[in-house]
Amino acid sequence: MGDFFANLSLGFGVALSLQNLGLAFLGCLVGTLIGVLPGVGPIATIAMLLPITFGLDPTGALIMLAGIYYGAQYGGSTTAILVNIPGEATSVVTALDGHEMAKQGRAGVALGIAAIGSFFAGTVATLVIAALGAPLTGLALVFGPTEYFSLMVMGLVFAVVLARGSILKAIAMILVGVLLSTVGTDLETGEERMTFGLPFLSDGIDFAVLAMGIFGIAEIMRNLDHTEHRDVVRQAIGRLLPNRDDFRQSYKPVVRGTILGAILGILPGNGAVLGPFASYTLEKKLAKDPRRFGRGAIEGVAGPESANNAGAQTSFIPLLTLGIPPNAVMALMVGAMTIHGIIPGPQVMTKNPNLFWGMIASMWVGNLMLLVINLPMVGMWVRLLKVPYRLMFPAILMFCAIGIYSINSLPTDVMFIGLFGFVGYVLIKLGFEPAPMLLGFVLGKLMEENLRRALIISRGSLETFVNHPISAGLLAVAAILLVIALLPSIRKGRDEVFVED
């Protein structure tokens, strides 16, 4: 327990330095700004703004990126409530009741309870991360290549199970992602694989290029397919602070949502997405009058929003302790860390305690800032929603192009975001989800490395994955999950959970 407080105070020492406070604020502000704009989710935002952090020290850069991440998530909720456009999967549920509340002139209360619930969830999640960080890092140290490989297999299976749409397509996407990660020079033999003899492919496909292409650019192309129709709420936003009645109705959902979200967020795969859905379902089950849901029930905003934020934060746990990104956003954080010369994994905590604890403490600071940024400034965000998309997307294009160019100073990288953008557009048109592909791509390299090591140690025997108890357990979980997901009856239930409207 003494350690816990010592670590946290070390973290707050780092996070409360003037520079890091400024960076956290800037990150939250920019993240909110971009998150509010419909059509730009957290992944595209981080990919786009990655270059801005290059000049900073690693701690400051990660603090700012984390701020952008929460900011974009928060901003997404604002858009979901005011415009009924869920920027990404996690705010789909918020749009259901949040937008109804807004239509009834209670937009302010919806935004308020979302912010307050998120802040509470963020505070709890920060403490959970701080408490779990040390023991999990200890666990990670006993992991060998065999266990790591199995852990990643389990992570990918989670991603399959939690992806929307066809399971077969999700599996295919993950395989394609891993396949893409093998492009480039083979580390062991130095032979070039699938490079078409092109020199700029010999280092492999750049992660940022792939991410920005299939999320940022493809998203623009897809948005252009539909004529724009924004249902911006015309009523007054109304008062922001929920009254006593609202609080009485929502404090329990907030607590339950926080717990659910925090647990589900730790899961590999896309845990943060599951939290809001689970919370919404739970609140609806527990409610005295479930018919109110979908018609502006405050519990339907409070619970999922808290779960969303708790999950977003606890999804840092696998990354910080095991070095394994549980979702696409965390995969981008890996990219950011490696650019700054930090290899994510259990060593980060011992080698860079300032960075590790500073980042955790800054999460709480960032949550506090978001409260300040979002509530009083909501009028400004609403005005931002009136910027037409025809002016917004050329600006986004421009930022993407500049951002990707400044990473390696290669014009070919810029061309590749165009190519991957088109690939992403085609994938969406064919009913494939791009997120599992990105995750497969990021984990692919790690997997190949660990598979190789594990097989060298075991002299080429595949049994090693079953003989190691931890590895066997992880694979068993993966297998069971996959079977459950493929069972038709449960699949039906799963489809219902992910139905968008």
């Binding site: 270059p51 252009l224 539909h226 002016l391 997307f393 050329p394 600006a395 421009m398 930022f399």
Partner: protein, 222 residues
């Protein structure tokens, strides 16, 4: 960004294919798998104990191909989605804008064909205006003002404040300015000129009746 107005409004099911989307998706996967298998065909697979460079990609490609075949199979047995209608205007202009940016930012030579490095000063407006036409709602005046105000903003933000390694203007441009001006001073002068241009255009054309907009088709498709 209204709900998807997709092609599945026209229920004309022709032939034995019951899910065209799955069919095309499956065939795409099979093609991808075939391409990878062909690309790594001359690489060594090695053994499990010492994995060769081709081992993982080969088995992944086979798995991708199998997924594709199953998808093709299901497209004949299970009802599924139709292919959404495709628009070409969006992708063509977006990719065109990205290409234009990539080709002009630092200069590019390809055989006898060579472009000088023009920097953000040219690449920015070019990319914005070209990209802007990806939607049929594009209006030239708006795009020009956007280009002339966003480009200097990016020049100052990325080139001046953040010091990112991005070419800001063509080198030939420095000769137009007094010799003792630093790069940053030239950058700021350019940015100021562009911003001024944006303001002038904004004020000069403010009262003009909004000209005939490109209203060929407001459905967002061509």
């Amino acid at each position: 960004m209204s709900e998807t107005v997709s092609g599945d409004l026209c229920p004309a099911r022709a032939g034995p294919v019951r899910s065209p989307q799955s069919l095309v998706a499956g065939l795409t996967l099979v093609a991808l798998a075939a391409l990878s298998l062909w690309l790594i065909s001359d690489l060594d697979q090695g053994t499990l104990q010492s994995m060769g460079p081709a081992l993982l990609p080969r088995w992944l490609a086979i798995a991708v191909g199998l997924c594709g075949l199953v998808l093709v199979g299901t497209s004949f047995t299970t009802d599924g989605d139709f292919l959404e209608r495709w628009s070409l205007r969006g992708p063509v202009f977006v990719i065109g804008s990205i290409l234009a940016f990539a080709l002009t930012i630092r200069g590019y030579s390809f055989g006898a064909f060579a472009l000088p490095g023009l920097g953000l000063l040219v690449a920015g407006p070019l990319g914005i205006i070209l990209g802007g036409y990806a939607t049929p709602e594009a209006r030239l005046r708006e795009l020009v003002i956007l280009a002339l105000s966003l480009t200097p903003f990016c020049m100052v933000l990325f080139g001046d404040l953040l010091n990112l390694p991005i070419p800001v203007f063509p080198q030939a441009l420095t000769s137009l300015f007094p010799a003792d001006w630093s790069q940053k001073a030239v950058l700021r002068a350019c940015a100021a000129l562009m911003t001024a241009g944006a303001i002038v255009i904004f004020l000069a054309t403010r009262n003009r009746h909004p000209g005939p907009v490109d209203v060929a088709d407001h459905s967002g498709r061509i």
